[in-house]
Amino acid sequence: MTSDGTKDNVKMNMERRSFIVVSVLGFLGMGLVPLIRWAHRFSGREKALAQPKLLSLLCDSRTIRMLGRAYLVLKPEESRCRELSNDVLGDTTNEVVVQDVDLSLVESKIEKKIKLDFETSNTVILKGWVLSVTEARQCAFFSILNS
């Protein structure tokens, strides 16, 4: 009884541990992706990507979302986040600048790109707003993240 009982106890303890490990892993498995997504969504970098700086000073988030949707109606092929993010950050040589982690650097790059857009008439008229294509993409990104 004792030896068998000990064996039984060990076996039971192992099963409980496995259950806990599996449960914890399962829980982590279910919650991790949204958590990562959540963390990713609110990273400073994506905030910069999805926030047209000057435009945000002139109109509310609802208007920016509306402008973003209008852009996506015009350019449905750009409706995926990754492409949009690359397009917003891509430099003049179309080289994708994804490695920048310094928020101010990212913002500065976007501002320069917007200025260049206006200089080169790379603009689009959305709901009457004369926008740089880069900031129109920022609006689109914003509308996707906040849909």
Binding site: L55, L57, E119, T123
Partner: protein, 523 residues
Amino acid sequence: MHTDATKLEDHSLIEGDVCIVGAGVAGIAMALEWINTPYKVILLEGGGFSVESKMQDLYRGKSIGQRYYPLHSSRLHYFGGTSGHWTGFCSPFDPIDFKKRDWVPHSGWPIQYSELHPYYERARKAVEIESANFDFEYWKARVPDLVPMPLDESVIWNKMWQFSPPTRFGTRYKDAIVNAKNIFLYTHANVVNIETNEPVSNVKQVRIKNFSGKEHVVKAKCFVMACCSIQNARMLLASNQQAAGGLGNDHDLVGRFFMDHLEVTSSELLMPVARQMKLYHPWVYSETKVRAELAVSEQKQAQLKILNGTSGLIPKEIARNQPANIDSFSDDAVATVQMWDEIDKQRQETKSKEKENFLFRELELFTRMEQSPNPNSRIQLDAERDELGVPRATLDWQLTALDKRSIRKLQQLIGEEVGRSELGRIRLMDWLQDENNSEWPATLGGGWHHMGTTRMADNPKEGVVDANCKVFGIANLYMAGSSCYTTSGAANPTLTLVALTLRLSEYLKRSAANNFNLDIELA
């Protein structure tokens, strides 16, 4: 010398060297040039020295095209003419306005800006503005707090405006005209017919009438029609006893190419922070001396294939209290003139007491766009006649797709410039948002700037008058004023029409020195 034609014996004959028909801005500007010359100048004015409803009714007419102002109140039929309700906006045409532009059908004057430029100095004296220099830098040196927006001048530049007091030609120059020994002013002398010799190569005389029922004849060596664009065309068309289609109308061009500036609120400028905008501040009656509008460069006009145009900036708090001109324009010319007279009297008292800081962050852009010359935009004769028996004018104001595209492109260009300079953003008005929408908004009006009905051209197949404003085919008949404009430019017409009239005057004086060098048949 002044004579009221109603007091003359019926069927009087009046004779002179030069007969100027119409004592408005052009007619008076020309007559002033002839004071103390050896020539006898007859100046005919249909109205009297005060505006009268009955006289204005002679200008009544239908408008069958794009919505327009009442014809009987948008111009004034008395001594001084439409200067009686002029607001005084002055700016010269730009060199590009005279050029042939391959993207603007029927563009290209037979004269260039350089030929008119010397006359702007004299014109500015007539309209009593400070300088003939309209360069921004010139004014910046005089008024240091005129701060320009940091825009690229090769794209958008500051077109400067000066403001006449405004000069009411009727009151300002009445004494000079009436006291001149060789200027013979006849009021209540409405020309009802221009009569030529049989081959229709010379004008023999004009017939005048008035409400007293009297009719007189005026003979001269040379006739200058200075009655405004609608009336100049109307009189040529109505004088059809010897030429079926009217005088100077062998090619069916008289009355065509009627133009006005397209004036309409087109967009709004939104900035994150307020800026000092004194340079662009809307005109304030009797206070504003100079201001700027945003104009599109010649280079950009060519690149984008658009018309010339400007945008004025109006702070939103001011704009929201201003109804569209086309909605608020009075059809009572007498009341309008009385209102201006009252304002003129009170101008010293109405000066604003508070010093403004001119800081604004939200403004509306008010476009003033050249109208593309369009043969279908025209003055014709109506079947109905006025009280003196002259067929009334009918206006068919017609706009084109180029007109609308040009307004949209101008706003887009300004949008790109304020974006590039990080000033703010431009938002187009609803009616401009869809580039495929060809409709015009109800708020669209003109500037009651009538132009182009006897246009200037190199040859009679393309215009009614030659480079000297002489009607093709008629040796002694000239047109003065904005009816001669081949294109309308972006600027208000008054300063340029005075300059063009002074140029015509000089040409006629040279001709006069050669006894007009004409084969005149004086009956």
